[in-house]
Amino acid sequence: MNDAFPEARLLAASSANPELERAKARGKRIIGYFCSYVPEEMIHAAGCVPYRMRATGSRGTTRGDTYFSVLNCSFVRHCFDKALHGEFGFLDGVVFTNGCDHARRLYDNWRDAGKKLGLGPDFLHMLVVPHKVSDTALSRYEAELRTFQAELEGFSGAPIPKESLAQAAVLYNEIRRRLGALQAARRAVPVPVAGSEVLDLSLALTAVPADRALELLTRAEAALAGRTAGGQDDVRVLVTGGCLEDAALFRMMEDAGASVVAENVCFGARHFHRLVDDRKPPLEGIAERTLRHVSCPRMIDDFETRAHALEKTLREFRADAVIAHKLKFCDLWGGETFLLRKEAERLNVPFLALEREVYGGGTGQLATRVQAFVEQVRNRKGRFTEQEGQDHG
């Protein structure tokens, strides 16, 4: 039996995993990174394994809260708590970004804890990403990536030739393209794979070396043949939002009768969107792909592009409704939710906004709201179908 999806689920549910241990045993170094604006291929080209940081397995925020406060995002607090408990001890380096006010302070607090509490690793880098997607911003981002490359070379002790960068870009393009195709398969009615399964797979792909990621994808593609995961009458939803690393939220929606046919979340589609243009010099191509993939609300000049992408996805995936989620105290997704609601009104699409903590925190309440929402959408669908029948009857 093809165990790709169950294996993905296990990988998604664990912090470290045997794949990383095997990589370390082969002499590979693991570099953690926050945010989809960090190009994984550069870390790979430096001979290291990129690992997307998650709060998975966190037991609380008791120690994280000695630095952060209750007004800070639970994702960041949980991650830092894990760090202070030594649960990221398998990392040889960490790359941070100025993704948001909460996340960028991880860089500051981690360094401080390094000085005062001996928190490792030693290699800590802040990759600064512009807040715009203009050509000037792109040039700036390229310069930032050159600095990043120099830092990686210093860390690894070896230069990163252009060819290595180009090959790494090709490799990660392959992962993105194939995951994109798998995601696109969800346009079918009914869907061949559940949204929760795809999210688990997306998470797993960021937690293992690239060759293992490709192997997992191959098995996942094979598993899709002849498969259905939903029903004809499922309410098809598009989920959008920020950090969502726990597929349990999608499973809860699926239990409520919804089918998550598309998503635009940090660890999911947004992470894998767009390919590196291999006609360009590799660093420039990587910079352009990374800066110009579907953006998140930290990009101030890009809402119209995001809105168009959302509308296109709604159409292509025949989604009946939009569910937007945000973590508490997230200004960026708070404002984005306000705008998405307006867009949903304009498009006459049912819209639900959820607010949550990264783990736990009122799941019962969320489930109730989702159930009620799904029922409303189902009834609405029924009315439209009936109306269409009358109109054509």
């Binding site: 000695t66 406060s69 736990g360 009122g362 799941t363």
Partner: protein, 274 residues
Amino acid sequence: MGNETRMISAGYDVGTRFVKVCVARGGEMAGGASEPVAGDLRGVCRKAFRRACGRAGVSPRHVRRVAATGFGAVHVNGAGACLPVSLCAARGAHALAPAVRTVVDAGGLFLTVTSLDETGQAVDSITNDPCAAASGKFLEMVAGALEVPFEEVSARVQDSASPYRISSTCAVFAESEVISRVNTGADPADILAGVVGSIAGRAATLLEKVQAGEPMVLVGGLARIDAFVRIFEGLTGRQAPPLSPYPGLVPAYGAALAAAGLTGRRWFFLRPHR
């Protein structure tokens, strides 16, 4: 009764759940009382005061100086001063156990950790952030919802095999989380253990922020909950015995001492708080 060393003073600790009053005579704790907060707060204060005087064997008229502390200190009629809880907890703890260097006050709504020097002076203190599910009141609420008498909470927590970890920092959302768990059939013991663990965890976080010294004691209402003490000690790896004999009265006792001026600092004969 004119001898200052025999001066009778009273301290009020007006918390969010209880009003505690302690009468001190010559620097010693002479009597105390606690009344639940309900309705007319000033009436509750008066009642607690009279009971404390009764237990101390003194007439209310003979109480020469009064100071108040706690969330509702401003509502105490006739208080010579309103003082911070951290200061009063420090004073009271130091008087009862001069070696103490850290006082953890776990009360109805607030957790306060105070570090003190060898003279009993509060050096640093920190209180939990707003919207924290880190309060005795929250525990009381959950126990009530589970129909577990508050005095049985410790015993029930002892029975827990798998404490439920509460992730919300906001009591409103934490309550919702707890209700969900109850509705899905979770064991009340596990839920109570989770709530106590959550409060103990918040206290442990505060402890680390203040870089608290040894030895440490617990005061306030939650200090009477054995389960809280046990879990807190487990989380911090430190001894945190409740300061006997009446941990709930320690801040009120400290306020009484401050009122009497037995600290030796003249300015503690304070200007009335406006």
